[in-house]
Symmetry: C2
Subunit: 464 residues, 2 copies
Amino acid sequence: MPPPAETLAARLKDIAAEVAIIGPQALAERHPGEHPGNFGAGVMALPTSTEMVAEIVRFCASEMIGVVPQGGRTGLVGGGISTPGELIVSTEKMTEIELIDPATRIAIVQAGVTLQALQEAAAPYGLTPGIDLAARGSATIAGMVSTNAGGILAFRNGVMRHQVLGLEAVLPDGTVFSDLTEVVKVSAGPDMKQMFIGAEGALGIVTRIVLRLETLRTARATALVGVKDAATALAVVGHFRSQPALMLEGAELMWAQFIRDSASVHGFDLGWLDEGTAAVLLFEVSAETAELAAETLESGLETLWEELGLDGGIVARSLDQSRKFWELREDSDFIYRLHPGAPSFDVSIPPGELDTYVVALAARLRTIDPAWGAYVYGHIADGNLHISVTGANELTDADKERIEDAVYAGIRGLGGSFSAEHGAGLEKRRAYIAYGNAERRALAQALKRAIDPDNLFNRGKVPY
Amino acid sequence: MPPPAETLAARLKDIAAEVAIIGPQALAERHPGEHPGNFGAGVMALPTSTEMVAEIVRFCASEMIGVVPQGGRTGLVGGGISTPGELIVSTEKMTEIELIDPATRIAIVQAGVTLQALQEAAAPYGLTPGIDLAARGSATIAGMVSTNAGGILAFRNGVMRHQVLGLEAVLPDGTVFSDLTEVVKVSAGPDMKQMFIGAEGALGIVTRIVLRLETLRTARATALVGVKDAATALAVVGHFRSQPALMLEGAELMWAQFIRDSASVHGFDLGWLDEGTAAVLLFEVSAETAELAAETLESGLETLWEELGLDGGIVARSLDQSRKFWELREDSDFIYRLHPGAPSFDVSIPPGELDTYVVALAARLRTIDPAWGAYVYGHIADGNLHISVTGANELTDADKERIEDAVYAGIRGLGGSFSAEHGAGLEKRRAYIAYGNAERRALAQALKRAIDPDNLFNRGKVPY
C-alpha cells in the first residue's frame, strides 16, 4: 500500500527542505503535458541541482518508492506516465546554461534547459547544438538524451548520442555518476554514459550534459519540390549533398495526403504542384551567402528537372516564406484535429527501402479495411517516417494490433527500427517486445537488474 | 594448469574442423604485430564467419579457456597480448565487404576488413567511411570499433561510435548478439551494441559491422603554416571551418621538436618557416574544385596573416606535394628510431586548454629532469595530442610513473581523457585506474560481471 501523495509530499518537505515539492492539489492546476497520466503519482519534486536529485533519490531508495523522471512532458509514447505511490522528479527548475565555450565548441547545461534556449544561447557565438526538432520550445536536453532524439539534422550530424560528450546522472541507489567529458575522443574501456542515452530514465536521472556544438549557418535557401517517389527525393537530396559549396540543412518528405491536408489547413497554395504528384520534398541548404544558396539551389533544380521528372517546385523568396514552408511540415497538429485518436508511429527505414515500404504499408492497411489510409511524412535522408493511420474510427484493441502489425511488418529485417526517435515508453511496449531486437532487450534487462535491482526507476517501461 | 598450446590446437581441429587453427610452430613464423607478447598464447583460430567464432567461443566457455581477440595487431597499448592457456581468435580471414549501398549510404563488413580496403571499395560510389587514420592499411574495422578509434576526421564526423549503425558480436558464453541496424535513428531502450564499442574485446568479439558512409570530397588543397601556439592554430582552423564553400578535411598540429626532426628525417625543407615558430599546422580543405579550394585557402591565409601573426606558410602545388606534407605528420616512426623506448601517450584535452597543458607539461618534465622533453603532435581540432617523452634513457619503473604523472596530471579535471583513441590495453592499466573515471570503471565492472562472469574475454585488461 503506497503512502498517499499528500503524506509523501509532507515527508519530502521534511527530509529535503530546500527542494520544492508539489502535492496533488497544486499539480491538478498544472498542465500534464502530452499524456494525462503523467501526473498520476500526484506528487512532484523540483530539485535545482544534481545533489538535490541524489538526496531525493536516496530517500526513495531507502523507502522503495518508485521514481519517474520528467522533462518537458512532450514525449509522445507515455514514457513519463506515473502512478500512485511513485514520485515524479521534474527537471523544470534545472535550467542553467552553465557554459558555452566557443574555443572548445561545447555547451554544459542542466537537464531542464530546452533545446530552443540552448539554440538561442549558442547563436551569438555562431554555434548551434546540431540537433533540431519541431518541439524545440518544450523538449529539454535531458529528455532528448533520454530518448536519443533525432530530428531534422540527424542525417548529417547524427542523433543525440553523437552530440553528447559527457553527462552526469543519478543512479537508482542515489549515487552520482559523473562523466563530464568535454572531448570527442575517449578510448578508455566501456563507455557507460552511453547507457543513459536512450534509456528513457530506466537507469538514471540525467542531470547535466556536455554537448558538442556545430557551426551555425544562417545563409540559407528553402524549396518545395514535387516528386514521384522517395527515390526521386533522395536523388535530389544526393545531388545537393555532393556539392561542397552547399550544406544540406533539412530534407523532409511529405506524401500526398499529408501535404494536401496540411496545405489546406494552413491556407497554402499548391497551384504550382502537378495534380498527380506522389509527395513533396521540403529541403533547405546553406551556403556562403543566401543569394548563393538560392542560385545554386535553383540552377541545381533546373539541371535535375528533366532527368528526374520533377512535378513542380518553388523556392522561398523570403525568410517569411521559408517559415511558411516549414510550418506545413512541422505544425502537424491538424492530423489530430481532423482525425482524433489516429494511431501514430515513428519508424526508421533504410532510405533505399522507403518506396517499397510505403507502397506495401498502404496495401496492408487497405487489405484490413479499404477505408484506411495513412499520413506519411518525415526525415527522408535518414529514413525516419512519421505515420498516422486515418479512416479508422472507434478502434478495438484487435484493430490497434492489426494496425501495429501492418506498420511494423518487416522493418527489423530491413535493418530499420519500430521506434526512430520517440522511444518506447508505455505505448510502444508491445512493439518493443514483438518488433524490437530480442538480444538487445535481453542484455538491457541484465544491465537494468545490475543497476536497478529493485526496479525503482521508471518502472514498467523499457527495457520491461 | 592450462593445456599446452599444441594440445589445444589439436582439440580445436577436432571440434571445429572447418576453422583454420595455427599452433605454436606456425605462429613463430609470423609477425606478432606491434607487441611481441601478442602471440603469447601460442595458438590461434582463424574463423571466417560469426557462426564459426561462436562455435569456438562455446568450446572455450565450456572448458573455461580465456579468449583474446586480435585484428590487425597494430594496437599500441598491448590490448592484444595473450598468455599461455588462452586462445587467440584472429579476424584476419573475415575480410568480406558484404555490401556498399549508395542509396542508404552504408557499408556492411566483416570484422577483419581493413580501413583502407573499405575506403577503396567505397570510393567508386563517391563515399568514404568518414574516419581516417595513419594505420589505415593495417587497422581492421572491428579493431577500430573495439578501441572506438578516432583519427584525423573526428572533429567533424565524430569517432568510430558515431559511424557504427549496427554490429554483430559473439558474447563470452558463445551466444550471438546481432543488431545489424542500418539506420541512424533508433530510440528503443538502452542501446546495448554501444557496449562493444571501445570495450577492447572485454565483452564480446565483434564479427560484423554496419557503418555509415560519408560523401568523399577529393577536390582539395593542403597547407603548412607556422603558428605561435595552439590557440592561433585553432583560430586558423575556425576561420576555414566557418566558410560554407569549404569543408575542413584535417587539422594537425606539430610542435617545434616534432616538425624539426620529422622534416630533417624526411629531407623536407623548412626554409619558408620562421626560426622561432612554436608549431606547424598542417591543414587540408575540400571545395567544389581543387582550384577553388587552393584559392580560398590562399586568400584566407592572406586575410589571417597579419591578424594572427603567422610564421610562414606554404600551400601544396600538387597532389605529390600534399602527400609529402602528410608524410611529415603520419610517418612518425622516426621517433622510435631516434629515441628507442620513448614513453608514448595519447591524450584528449579540450582544445581551448591545449596551450596551457603543453606549456605545463614541458615544465613538469624539466622539473623532473632538465634533459627531458617531448614530441607533441596531433589532431588539433578535437584536442587529441600524441606525446613521446624524449631524453629519458634507461628508465626505471619509478621514472616511468613520474613521466605518466607529468603527462596525465589534471587532464580529467579539464574534461579530457588519459586515452583518446589508442585504448588502455595492458600498458595503460595504471592510468586507467589512477587517471580514468572511477564511476565509469565501477559501472563497466558491473557490466563485465553480468556478461562475462568467468572473466574469459581479454582477461586482465579493461575494465580490470
